[in-house]
Subunit: 157 residues, 2 copies
């Protein structure tokens, strides 16, 4: 019998078929694999990579914009920024109109690291999806979006 179907045995729960557990294990396996791509080579962490990815995709941004686009909380963003400033991957300039805000931009070094990581990350994503047909990728894409929406909907009540 396939899993994820309404169970006939009412109270049995097999951990390795339990969707939240499977998602946690899968995400963890994938994250570790990706992190190894840049942890050793560039000495950056997952939050730092995410900041780079946001800046690479959208250009300079404030910390709160990065936060909004990355599902990281502001403490994670603040700490990632601190480390990246230290490492010379980004610089920041205070917004003259609102001196609370600081616009973050990649340095030339940050751009260089970014442009090296992106192909590695994309190759890893492609490897994950190796053997998936176009149709399967579309289905996966939609199912993940729906799961995310359901997960967020279940948060508030």
């Amino acid at each position: 019998m396939p899993d994820l179907l309404p169970s006939d045995t009412a109270d049995a729960l097999t951990l390795d078929r339990f969707l939240p557990y499977r998602l946690a294990v899968l995400a963890n396996t994938v994250s570790k694999g990706i992190a190894r791509l840049y942890a050793d080579r560039f000495g950056i962490t997952i939050p730092e990579w995410r900041v780079l990815a946001i800046l690479g995709a959208f250009g300079p941004a404030t910390a709160s914009e990065i936060q909004g686009r990355s599902a990281m909380d502001k403490v994670q963003v603040s700490r990632a920024i601190a480390r990246m400033l230290e490492a010379g991957l980004i610089d920041r300039t205070v917004d003259p109109d609102d001196r609370r805000r600081q616009t973050i931009a990649m340095t030339a070094e940050g751009e260089r690291v970014y442009s090296e990581i992106v192909p590695l990350a994309q190759a890893r994503e492609a490897a994950l999806l190796d053997g998936f047909s176009v149709e399967e990728r579309v289905v996966l894409d939609r199912l993940l979006d729906r799961l995310q929406a359901r997960a967020e909907a279940g948060e508030k009540p």
Copy 2:
């Protein structure tokens, strides 16, 4: 193509469509939702819930068996066991044939907590899949298994 902005480069990567990132965010959203089910009410953590789930599904087991069935490392299992012993949810008996091994079993209290959590967890899983047809559940099930296999395959090389 002019290279005015990083986002103009051909190989741009949009974080919120990047599969590893999406999996991480989804798993995190789901895990937090589930954890709230038992964190407040029963005072147990995710590793402890996993130990309970293993014991509930397979019966008494040693720490290393729990480890093998749960994708947790032995440190996590050891710490979960220590807390659960303290809380009276499990007890352990030294294996007379091999005194390094300790068989872990739920206490009556552990069984009670387990039997209360299982329906909550299953309801949460059902809520996640609400609106998914049987066919969609089957497809999701298979895609997740294949992704997990691909993710593990990408670990070694």
